[in-house]
Amino acid sequence: MAETPCSDLSKAEEILGRYPQEEPALIQVLQDVHRAYNYLPCDVLERVAEALEVPLAKVFSVSTFYKAFSLEPQGDTIVKVCTGTACHIRGAGQLVEELERQLGVGPDETTEDFKFTVKTVNCVGACAMAPLVIVGEKYFGSAKPARVSKYLAEGGADEN
């Protein structure tokens, strides 16, 4: 588990200012931090621990327990493949493989140019459109491996 610091704590201070400085706010703060920095920088976690008066070990524990958090910088665009049951029986596995062929990275990995991070997610609740690929904020229902490159182009472009 590498630790990656960031250079700018001001965003973290702004986030901390929005919550009561106590332990129950921890997960909410970490989510906002993750959104702001695209990962959880180690120095921000230290600051959060101090501000909320939660031991650093507990902050680290929470950061590694929940799937929403990453301690490594993520790609500009997150590509999520839903691997819920409906998507599984309708071929989500093939989508993951196709992404691996196209991007050269498997689930929870980031391309070398930091453009894409691939993730598998548990059921996003759009089972009626299974299988599902989400590129950035864009949902692609009834997804087919042959169209993966198109999804990447469309969703990736949206982000920038």
Partner: protein, 254 residues
């Protein structure tokens, strides 16, 4: 004070006792791995499962519960050696043996339940940690929380933040001492102590050079207990010598 029956033996225990306390009071041994008297029960290892029936349940209706954290109640019946309990413990030990095939404590317990070799796929890269959580719980209990469990599921492990020397650690060694499989390495001498990759200066007796605790440990406990810091600064031997001298002064001794 509720009365219970444990394996047919009647016992009376305090109302805040657990089934484990009741079993012990009845002289019945229930195996545990994650239980420790000085800490809150946790119910993680699942070795202390027993069959329990409440007074108002049907006679033949039993529920499997962990003895370490289940409260007692008037008229309860507890059975610690039914077939399904033994079989459940066997599965738990078989699984732990697959995780830690080389750990003597687990080997012994497994053998006690008739398991010589695990039925499952042995861990290809084993260590001795059985994830009983005693180390992190004791660390929390003394108000330090320098280490914690990280990740989840099979990936769960015990680690300091970022796998770096933990800033909050006071070097008390409680985690290493409490570990039932002795899998937390540490070094300690009168000069230096090292645990979790963090080095500590020992609080040394100015005269004899002896040391039992670290400076951080003394500061933490002084603050916590209100005992003055000066209490911690000399070794027990020096203190006894001082006391002997005081006696000599107080009482007329040749």
């Amino acid at each position: 004070m509720p009365t219970l029956k444990v394996n047919g033996r009647r016992v009376i225990v305090d109302s805040d006792a657990t089934l484990l306390d009741a079993a012990r009071a009845a002289g019945v041994e229930v195996p545990t791995l994650c239980q420790f008297d000085g800490l809150e029960p946790w119910g993680g290892c699942r070795l202390c499962v027993v069959d329990m029936s409440q007074a108002n349940w049907d006679d033949d209706w039993f529920k499997v519960v962990t003895a370490c954290n289940h409260p007692v109640d008037e008229g309860m019946t507890v059975i610690t050696d039914s077939d399904r309990i033994i079989e459940t413990r066997r599965v738990v030990l078989d699984l732990l043996l697959a995780r830690c095939p080389d750990t003597p404590l687990i080997q012994q317990w497994a053998l006690e339940y008739g398991i010589e070799q695990t039925s499952y796929t042995p861990n290809p890269d084993p260590d001795d940690c059985i994830l009983c959580g005693l180390c992190t719980r004791v660390c929390d209990h003394i108000g330090v929380s320098a280490i914690s469990s990280i990740n989840r599921g099979w990936g769960r492990e015990i680690a300091p933040p970022f796998n770096q020397p933990p800033p909050d650690c006071i070097g008390c060694l409680a985690c290493a001492e409490i570990c039932p499989t002795d899998c937390i390495p540490f070094e300690t001498s009168t000069v230096r102590r090292k645990i979790w990759g963090k080095e500590f200066e020992m609080l040394r007796d100015p005269k004899t050079g002896e040391a039992v605790i670290t400076k951080e440990q003394a500061e933490h406990f002084a603050e916590r207990s209100g005992v003055p810091m000066t209490y911690f600064e000399t070794s027990d031997r020096s203190k006894r010598r001082e006391m002997a001298k005081t006696f000599e002064k107080l009482q007329v001794v040749k």
